[in-house]
């Protein structure tokens, strides 16, 4: 069989931007000599097309003759490219989503051409010195990911993939063995991630029913009972320090929300996202998700589908929220790590970082949702198991927040077709990663197509406003299995899986049911609205199908083409999971002996801090995200005179024409968990609130989300740490009177190597959403003038434990920052009132690196100098200069106030800790004194440059680890 091959490259005189981007990455593999690099897009077209049709496609659709060279040729199968060329061809593996294909099909039909078989790829030509092994290395490490891409080196040419045959129906039953060890082995062999008690419970239920389960029934139970879907660790009873804590989550995080009973909470912990009040017509909804394991294996696809998934959570909240802002936080190994010293089987953190950023960029930007807030956090323990958090805020009309399925409603699926993507993702995420995860779990990876989701969203929001459906949820982990099971929990559901459209033939009923193919939503549509719903979908080219209907049987009945393949009660499915009591222990870590600790010169420490990737500017990342689409952005991530100052939080006004808004921020510091996860949790909450209040958010109308990423909690010490953190969550939420409205946990974040298991730092991300009455009252962190008074809000203690200053000096320290639960909320309220009444010129919270880093950032971002006397600093106990400069004590801010407002400002803090430390100056120097003794006195420009360049240089290959 022959094919048409179309090769398109930019005309030489215009340069080759992609080729140059690859050249910038080559030094990373010590292979600069392989360049220069030329690139071409490759399209493989059906041999059945006529030459004129291929030419038309090539010139009108695929290429641009104005600026590109277009070559069309017919290639016989098995023919080879010129062997003298050092070429690498990259294309998506068969069955993996290739968004190019959908676009080309659409364009071809516009040209009146039936496209037939199609494949696209990219050809990289290396004009320098490179051998075949090195080409392989470049292919797998820079150009593509072998898990999802075919990488063809040298003279091999791209060919069509063989198509799979049609599926022949056969019901498969799985007999359950009697012996415990056989039951466990079965669970492992089938990848169910069910433990012995769960397998025994299932066996007892089917013994009672007098039959064996079908494969799809077992899968449904495994998905529904997975850690990912049921959060069974968090919902378990935990034995800890001599007492049993009944249902850990309800005893801590939920309990705070319940006891606070804030009137702005509309719907908490029941839907796909928490809902809170906004203005007189709208509520806001907010959700943050993790997508850790898929991102470890394919950073690009994992992060993209992570953001795609959390967007669907908002679409599936109430009767559908409209997404208005995205956030993302990544925890990774150090991006300048030595490539030869990584745990076996891991992807280098720099590649992970670039991959996840591209994934979020390509998905979020296409969805038209501004990516407005986030963070990067680095620690070597994340190398094998990086964390990817993605969050979305939505806005929803007040009368569209409740949902209810009724018997007789049709089960309608909208969006993408079903393929073999991400089979068993829910159970996969409930396992530990290991060296071979990459090869074994490739099928757990999904690649998204944002445009399919955008189309689906457009239709969903119109259908919502027309009132065409009664219930909606997204297909996330577990696919149809989880979505239908969840929506029909109180009624019953009957589904015929043969009705689902598939991407290609050959899918079994089991694969259709549990596939995690992206971009699908499931609706409960009253029969009288069905026709209008389907017509609306068709009018915007959104695929829709009727999977079945909701019943009053209280059963989940599964069929394929009329054959029964599953029949279980909803009661067993949702409430049959056996309750467990888990063991937890927590021992305080031993004190670090600091008797011989001599701090480095303060200016050296400050420079190390400015250059540390946790502190250094994230501009390289932020500018790749569209943070202004929807025209709602008021305070952006990058502020100040050079637009590179690190803003504390984002402020948006989501309703066009209104200036009512919200502030969005986050907090986390896993290093405190090395000392005590309790303090880590309270610090994370404090930081999230500091960030939103610093820009103008109202601390009395603030909601938070908890996202735990933890190690394997079957190990009692990991679980004990989770108990401590959960208790911290309760105490801090109560102190701040701030409710949790939604949350998620990701456990088993450990990486098994032959040398032992690496557990991630216990990581709690807290995301905060605070109302801003009028966005024009917001403030930013950059100094605004010379001659302003500079105040420090809050008390400083001996709290260098887990601080970044100790870390850059290769120490841990002993006392993690602790929350003063009595003064924290009054302090935030006083600051908020001052901001609201226009007394504050700039405000920046103190976090990693303490006062020294905050002062430097505010100064260079504003283009003014600072002269501060740290001797005036109110302290808890006697503190040395090093501690005053770098302690990370909580609830502290550096605030700039114009002289004429100082009296009123000070009055607002009566009874709280507030001190004037000095003033801002025209001279661009940072001068920090202890009484008359100079601690740091340096030019701001070099500090600014370190902050601006350090991470960017690593990302652009200007730095060698």
């Amino acid at each position: 069989m022959s094919t048409w091959q179309v090769e398109i490259g930019t005309r030489a005189q215009l340069g080759d931007a992609l080729g140059q981007a690859v050249e910038r990455d080559l030094p990373w593999l010590d292979l600069e000599r392989a360049g220069p690099v030329r690139t071409r897009r490759l399209y493989l077209l059906d041999a059945a097309l006529a030459r004129t049709q291929v030419d038309l496609l090539a010139t009108r659709l695929l290429g641009d003759e104005v600026v590109e060279e277009i070559k069309v040729r017919k290639v016989e199968d098995g023919s080879q490219r010129d062997a003298s060329l050092s070429a690498v061809t990259v294309c998506r593996k068969p069955g993996v989503m290739d968004p190019v294909e959908a676009s080309v099909r659409r364009g071809a039909s516009e040209l009146g051409i039936d496209l037939g078989a199609f494949r696209s790829g990219t050809l990289y030509l290396f004009e320098g010195e490179v051998n075949p092994d090195e080409l392989q290395k470049i292919g797998a490490n820079i150009l593509a990911n072998p898990v999802v891409d075919d990488i063809l080196c040298g003279s091999t040419t791209l060919t069509f993939a063989a198509t799979s045959g049609a599926y022949v129906f056969e019901r498969i039953d799985v007999p359950l063995p009697d012996r415990d060890e056989d039951l466990l082995k079965l669970s492992q062999d089938l990848g169910l991630s069910l433990n012995l008690a769960e397998m025994q419970t299932i066996k007892a239920w089917f013994d009672e029913a007098g039959r064996d389960p079908s494969d799809i029934e077992l899968e449904t139970l495994a998905q529904t009972w997975s850690e990912h879907c049921k959060h069974k660790t968090f919902a378990a009873d935990v034995r800890f320090r001599g007492e049993v804590i009944p249902n850990l989550l309800k005893s801590t995080v939920f309990r705070a929300t319940k006891e606070l009973d804030r009137d702005f909470c509309v719907s908490v912990f029941v839907d796909n996202a928490g809902i809170v009040e906004f203005d007189d017509k709208h509520n806001l909804c907010f959700k943050v998700e993790t997508h850790n394991h898929p991102s470890a294996i394919d950073p690009y696809g994992g992060a993209g589908t992570g953001i795609g998934g959390v967007i669907r959570d908002i679409l599936g909240t109430g009767l559908g929220g409209k997404p208005v802002a995205n956030t993302n936080v990544f925890c990774l190994g150090y991006p300048d790590a030595d490539p030869n010293k990584l745990p076996a089987g891991t992807i280098h953190p720099l590649r992970v970082l670039k991959g996840v950023v591209s994934g979020v960029r390509d998905y979020g930007n296409r969805m038209g949702i501004p990516t407005v807030n986030g963070g990067l956090f680095f620690d070597e323990r994340y190398t094998g198991n990086p964390l990817v958090y993605a969050g979305t805020v939505g806005i929803i009309p007040k009368d569209r927040c409740l949902k209810e399925t009724k018997p007789g409603d049709k089960i309608v699926a909208l969006g993408g077709a079903t393929g073999r993507d991400g089979i068993q993702g829910a159970t996969f995420s409930s396992r530990e990663l290991h060296e071979d995860s990459e090869s074994l779990d490739g099928s757990a990876v999904q690649i998204g197509n944002a445009i399919t989701e955008k189309r689906t969203m457009d239709v969903l929001l119109q259908a919502r406003d027309r009132g065409l459906y009664r219930n909606v949820t997204d297909c996330g982990a577990g696919g149809f299995s989880s979505a239908v099971g969840e929506m029909g929990e109180l009624t019953g559901a009957r589904v015929d899986l043969a009705n689902a459209p598939t991407k290609y033939p050959g899918l079994s009923y089991r694969e259709i049911w549990i596939s995690e193919a992206q971009e699908r939503m499931v609706f409960a549509v009253p029969p009288e609205n069905l026709e209008e719903m389907l017509a609306l979908a068709a009018s915007e080219d959104v695929e829709a199908c009727v999977l079945g209907e909701f019943t009053d049987s209280k059963r989940l009945e599964l069929m394929f083409d009329g054959h029964v393949i599953g029949d279980m009660t909803m009661e067993f499915l949702h409430n049959g999971l056996p309750k467990t009591v888990l063991e937890a222990v927590w021992d305080e870590p031993a004190e670090e002996d600091l008797a011989d600790f001599e701090p480095a010169p303060f200016e050296t420490v400050l420079k190390k801090l400015m250059a540390h990737p946790n502190v250094a500017s994230k501009e390289w990342v932020i500018r790749q995200y569209d943070h202004e689409v929807q025209s709602t952005s008021c305070i952006k991530s990058l502020v100040g005179v050079d637009l590179d100052g690190p803003g504390d939080a984002a402020v948006h006004a989501p309703v066009l024409g209104s200036t009512k808004g919200f502030a969005l921020g986050c907090g986390m510091n896993p290093h405190y968990a090395d000392l005590d996860p309790y303090h880590m949790a309270t610090a994370a909450i404090d930081e999230a609130l500091r960030n939103v209040v610093a820009v103008g958010g109202d601390p009395d109308r603030c909601s938070i989300l908890d996202n735990f990423s933890w190690g394997n909690t079957a190990k009692p010490d990991r679980l004990g740490a989770l108990v401590r953190a959960s208790q911290g969550c309760y105490d801090a939420a109560m102190a701040y009177r701030t409710p949790f409205i939604s949350g998620k946990d990701s456990l088993n974040n450990e990486y098994a190597t032959s040398a032992g298991t690496i557990c991630i730092p216990h990581t709690l991300l807290v995301s905060a959403l605070a109302i801003v009455d009028d966005v024009r009252q917001s403030v930013t962190m950059d100094l605004k003038r010379a001659g302003s008074s500079i105040y420090l809000v809050g008390l400083t203690g001996d709290e260098l434990g887990g601080s970044l200053a100790m870390r850059v000096q290769q120490r841990r320290g002993n006392h993690a920052p602790q929350l003063d639960r009595r003064t924290a909320l009054p302090t935030l309220r006083a600051l908020h009132l001052a901001i609201k009444t226009g007394q504050v010129l700039s405000c920046h919270d103190l976090s990693e690196g303490g006062l020294a880093v905050t002062a430097a950032e505010s100064a260079f971002a504003g283009g003014f100098g600072l002269d501060l006397d740290l001797g005036l600093m109110p302290t808890r106990g006697t503190l040395d200069a090093h501690t005053r400069l770098f302690s990370e004590s909580l609830t502290r801010f550096l605030v700039e106030v114009a002289p004429e407002n100082c009296a009123a400002f000070e009055e607002g803090f009566a009874g709280l800790t507030l001190t004037r430390l000095g003033e801002s100056q025209e001279t661009k120097r940072l001068r920090l004194r202890l009484d008359q003794k100079v601690l740091i006195d340096c030019d701001l420009d070099p500090l600014h440059e370190l902050h601006r360049r350090s991470l960017t240089d690593i990302l652009e290959g200007n730095h060698r680890g």
Binding site: T10, E110, Q624, V629
Partner: protein, 268 residues
Amino acid sequence: MAEPEVLVLRAAGTNCNEETAYAFELAGAKTRQIHVNRLKENSKILDDFGAVVIPGGFSYGDDIAAGSVLALELDHALGDSLRRLLSRGGLVLGICNGFQVLMRSGLLPGPEASGASLSASLIDNESHRYIDRWVNLRSEHDHSHFLRAGLDLELPVAHAEGRFVVASDQDVKALEAGRRVALRYLGQKAGEAAGFPANPNGSLNDIAGLSDASGQVLGLMPHPERFLFDWQHPQWTRRASDAKTASSKNAQGEGFQIFENAVRYLAS
């Protein structure tokens, strides 16, 4: 004169339609957001409108050259009605992806006033990266009905394929001579090439926006609909601090003028 009516074109992947419609309404127009499929069913719909705007986004995903699929649809299904719109003095505006669509469909740069054809295109940014950043822009003449001579604007760009290139020097000379360069990226010093990042994508002659020969069609990479109010500027808190505190009413952003000029022209 009745309120001018503006059609805001929507397709799969369009994502700036809401705020672009809002900008026109704020300037006094009536708008309707219509999906391209409706226009393909009945292209006469266009005859009810004084202007068409193709907003930003990623039409059909932009997985092949940006804007190419929507451009094909425009050309095939709407070519005639767009020509009718222009011949009765109507306006066409393409922002970001809309500019890319206008370029791919041939409405921009369009021929010279003499009828001689011109070839130009928008390709990958020199950095090969998507970029969201504010830029300074200058309009040098009154040729475009959306702009005025001497108008300086600060607006955000947000794109991966905004580098303006031509097939030959002749093309750019003709564009310059015909006063077709509607907006130019402005660097630190007037009269010198802007350079990165003032010119964020490597565009030839710092070209950020183009007009057709009639001045009725404008395409630009920056997003005027993202700067309708002063508080959308990334440094507004610095300006407000100079003026003591933020004013109590919404002061206009610089992008608003483009919509205002268009509506004033349509109403005249």
